[in-house]
Structure formats: C-alpha cells, structure tokens
C-alpha cells in the first residue's frame, strides 16, 4: 500500500471513537437497506414459488393473467391446439386453485391444490416420504412439507382429511424449494382428481405446461400460441411478469422502495455528517499538510481512501449482520421471507458508494478551499 494511504489509514483508524461512530452508522444503514431489499426479494421469490417449483420451460395462459395464483381457466381445446404447434415436444394440463380442507379436529384450513397431468406428472416435486406411484391410489394427495406444513397439523402418510366432503388421504410428503407467499399449505394430486374434488367453472384448465423440442423453437411456439389468443411465457418471463405486477400494480413495491430510500437517507445523513465532522475536526491538520507541501491530489486521495475504507467496512459488516439476522429469523419464523440476492448486494454496494462519494465530496470541498495561511495565523 502506498505510504500516503497508510497515513490516511492511521489518521482514520487511530481516532477510534470517530471511526467506530462512522462504522456503526454505515453498518446500520447498510443493514437497513439490505434488509429492506432482501425482504422484497423474498416476497417476490415466494410470489413465483409455483413457477419455480414446477420447473416447466413454457407456461401457456390467458393473456389477462398477472400472477400464477390468479389463473384464468382456459377451454380444453387449447391444450390440443398447443400440442399441435410445431416445435412442441409435449404439452400437459396444469391445475391450480384454492380449496378448504376440513382437518381431523373439525377445523378448516385454506390450501392451494395443484393438479398434475395424470400420465406424466410433469411438475411434481421431489418426495421426502412415500412413493410417487401412490398418487394414483384412491383419494390420494401429496402434502408439501414447507413452512406452512404445520397448519395442516403435521399430517403423516395415511392421515386423512376432507376436501369438499371428499375423503382425502396423504400418501406422500414432498419438499418444495420455495414456499408460497400467502401462508397456506400446498397439496398435490392428479389433474383429474383435482377437477373431481374441487368445484369448477365451465373451463378448468389453469395452465398448459409446454416442453419445446429445443430452446430456439420457443419464439415460434410463442407466436403460434399468440395466434390462438393466448400467451406462452418462459418460466423466466412469467417470474418477471409476476415481479412487475407486485412492484408496479400493488402497494408492496412502492412501500418497500420508500423504506429503502429512507434507510439510504438515514445512512447518508449519519455517515455524511459523521465523516464531515471528522474532516472539520481534522481541518487544521489538513491545513498543516497543505502548508508542508501536500498537493490537492494528495488530500483528495487521503479523504477518498478514508471514505471508501469506512464505507466498504460498513458494507461488509452490514451485509454480514443482515445475513446472520435473516438466518436466525428463519430458524424461529419459517414464514419469514427475506432473501439476499446478488442484485441486492450490488444495489446496496452502489448505494454505499454514493454515500461515500457524497460524504467525501463535502469534506474534499472544505479541504481544497482551506487556506494554509489560516494555520499560520493559528
């Protein structure tokens, strides 16, 4: 490290009280920022849980669908039409709807029922207990063992409950990579049984899951489906659409954005003010350096180094603190939906750099304008 940076480091770190105040301020603001955007990411991830868990390449739906939870049933002929599209390897029906389960103690619990294609079971989850072939036995349902599992009173294989007065039997437990957003348990069964158990409108086909012969056939399939009056989205596009819905068409995005901006402003004001005070308190030393022969460039390097060092240390500690607290919260609160993504980290990093730049700008201006003659005058 160049000696000028060693000097900057010692001038900063040796003033322990001030350095600690700077670090605490930045750590706190980074923690707040990362926490806010991680919470939002967690919500968005869970909002797309069905899409992510199912793993289909293409989803065919009514063009008015906004989120996977609010499907608009399509007529059955659409399935045949999609199967006939050039480039489609296979297409299967997919059912998704809400239902009420009557538990053994007589209480009711809302659930999300997923109906998989009877023959292929495309979209099924990995099992943690039981056998997949048992899904074809009478009244069979698979319960997803996620954060909402307890709401079904921890059913085991063989546990029975009622759905619309139909007897249902748990034949297996499945693991879901991502839990749902709305805090209700998920049951899987065959497509035909789902239609049988749950009262339905005239059309019953929630989605069609499509496997293209190759990825480069996807645009062609999408345009053919569009000609039918429906929409085919890749899983990534569907997740993007769901994200956009929550960000732009609900209050969630705006509120989280406001909280994130507030935490940014809190961080900026705490760190900016503390750093500026640090510069002001060392102004006569900067003046002495200037009188001795430090160039403006040297002083800018010193201040920028100090601002960057403080910001990056605060960033690391803030992210670490956030990660630890999210991990601890998830142990105690299974429904806690916070996820630190690379995008979050980059976003927070950019905000920290802005804080560093703004904090140092005020200090640099002050030091550059400082007349060393003032030092002589005492």
């Amino acid at each position: 490290m160049a000696s000028i940076f060693t000097l900057a480091f010692k001038l900063l770190v040796n003033d322990r009280a001030k350095f600690a105040a700077l670090i605490v301020g930045l750590t706190f603001s980074v923690f707040l920022m990362v926490q806010m955007i991680s919470m939002f990411s967690g919500i968005l991830l869970r909002a797309s849980s069905t899409v992510l868990n199912t793993g289909a390449a293409l989803w065919v739906m009514d063009p008015a669908v906004n989120t996977v939870a609010n499907s608009i049933p399509m007529p059955d002929y659409v399935l045949d039409a999609v199967r006939s599209v050039d480039g489609v390897k296979y297409a299967v029906p997919f059912y998704s709807a809400g239902a009420l389960v009557k538990l053994a103690d007589g209480t009711y619990q809302s659930v999300n029922v997923i109906g998989l294609d009877d023959t292929s079971l495309v979209g099924r989850l990995p099992l943690v207990a039981g056998r997949i072939e048992d899904i074809y036995s009478d009244n069979a349902f698979i319960v997803v063992r996620d954060a909402e599992y307890d709401k079904l009173q921890r059913p085991r294989i063989g546990t029975t409950f009622e759905i619309n007065d139909h007897r249902s039997v748990v034949v297996a437990l499945a693991a879901a990579p991502v839990s749902g957003l709305f805090g209700i348990p998920t049951l899987y069964t065959t497509y035909s049984r789902a239609l049988e158990y749950i009262p339905n409108p005239r059309f019953t086909l929630s989605y069609i899951l499509v496997e293209p012969k190759s990825d480069n056939r996807i645009p062609q399939i999408q345009s053919q489906v569009a000609r039918l009056g429906y929409r085919a989205l890749t899983a990534k596009e569907f997740v993007h659409q769901i994200t956009n819905f929550y960000v732009y068409q609900t209050g969630v995005g705006t509120n989280i954005l406001i909280m994130t901006v507030i935490s940014f402003l809190v961080g900026l004001s705490i760190s900016g003010q503390t750093f500026y005070t640090f510069i002001l308190e060392n102004l006569e030393r900067f003046g002495a350096l200037k009188a001795i022969g430090a160039k403006a460039r040297d002083l800018i390097q010193v201040i920028l180094f100090q601002a960057l060092l403080t910001s990056l240390t605060g960033y690391g500690l803030g992210v670490g603190l956030c990660a630890v607290l999210i991990a601890l919260a998830k142990v105690r609160l299974p429904d806690y939906s916070s996820t630190i993504t690379y995008t979050n980290l980059i976003l927070a990093f950019v905000m920290v750099l802005v804080i560093a730049a703004v904090s140092s700008y005020a200090g640099i201006r002050k030091v550059i304008q400082l007349e060393p003659f003032d030092i002589f005058r005492g």
């Binding site: 490290m1 160049a2 000696s3 000028i4 060693t6 000097l7 010692k10 001038l11 040796n14 003033d15 006569e284 030393r285 003046g287 002495a288 350096l289 200037k290 009188a291 001795i292 022969g293 430090a294 160039k295 403006a296 460039r297 040297d298 007349e371 060393p372 003659f373 030092i375 002589f376 005058r377 005492g378």
Partner: protein, 234 residues
Amino acid sequence: MPKPAVQARDLVKWFGEGPTRTDAIRGVSLEAYFGEMLYIVGPSGSGKTTLLSILSGILRPSGGTVVVQGRDIWRLHDDELAEFRLRTLGFVFQDYHLFPRLTTAENVAIPLILRRRPWAEALHVALGFLEIVGLESRADLPPIKLSGGEQQRVAIARAIVAEPEILILDEPTASLDGETGKRIVEFLRTKILSAARCIVVVTHDARIAQFADRTITMEDGRITGIVGRPASAE
C-alpha cells in the same frame, strides 16, 4: 558575498477592498542568506506572519516578487508551489500542528510520505532525525505524551527531515518557558543551521535575540530597521 536563499522585492499585501481594505505589508524588500539565522520581529499586527507566509509560498502577495532558486515562486502553479514547499521549505508552526493520532516518528515522517517515500523507509529516516533532536526514545509515543519543549523538537525534526534549504519558524518559543525556548533556539543555531541552509524566525521574544545573525524589525507593514550582517559575510 553570501548567496541569497530568498529574495523578496517590493512586496505588498492587502486584505479586503474599498473602505474595508487593510494594508498588511507595504513595500517590503529583503534577502535571507544561506548560513544565516534571520529574525523578523515586531509588535502584534506589524505584518510579520503575513510576510512569512508570503515568503513561504502560502499567501499570495498583492504585488511584488519572491525569488527562490532563481524562480519567482508566485509565478508557479498551485501544484508547483506545493512541490516547492515540500522540497525547499521546512515549517515549524506556532502551535506545532502535530498529528495527535500518529506516533512521534510518524509525525516526523510526514514530509517524506508526501514525497512518496515508502512507509518503512520514511519511518527509518524519521528515527534518525528524532535522534538528532534527542527524542529517539520517544519515537513510539503520541505527541500528547510529550512536554511542550519536546513537541517543539518533534516539529523541528519534521521540518528538517526532508533536508530543506530554508527553515521557517513562526514564534517558536511562544508556548515555551524562557529556558526551554532558549535551548530550542540554541539547538537550531548549533545543530540545524548550516552553510547550505537558511533559518527565518518570526518572533517577538527578546530573550532569544542573541542567537540571530540579522534581525529585521517590522512595524505597520514596513521594515523599520535591520540589525546585523549575514553570518557568512563576516
């Protein structure tokens, strides 16, 4: 004839404009020679510190020239001026302006660090200069743990560590008791002053008058008297 280290001609400096204008320096010309210890004395407000700042390249004069090493320093750009101060001048400020969060040795090493010398090398050289001022045993202490006289010597070590031709001291004995002040100036005279160096001291301390080769008296922004002759001219 001794060689001039600094030649100032017709220096004027005023602050403010119009009815608020204050003339601090009014047509001052002087030379400071290598090998001499030059005092600038005078009452408060006589313009001593302003003159010293102009000679040091810290305060731009309203008129006149300051020639050092054959160049008018006030024709230099800001960075060149900073480089001139770093390479040619050494400062001892009235209040020392030591860095309380650095050790004594690190304080002394600052001019070398600004000259981009590696940290370890700068500290090594600084230790040598602390030895010259008799403070090698205090190298690892922060300045706050030192007495006023010791802090003054640290400031002197910092001023001479880069081997400047011109050493500038502003009221070096102002914060010291009489005996310590005398010892410091005697030390400068016997250990620091050399044929290749010029020391300019602004003071109003009559107790150290005996150590000057020449004494310039200022009053109301003008030189009102010069006593003595350059040492190497004798």
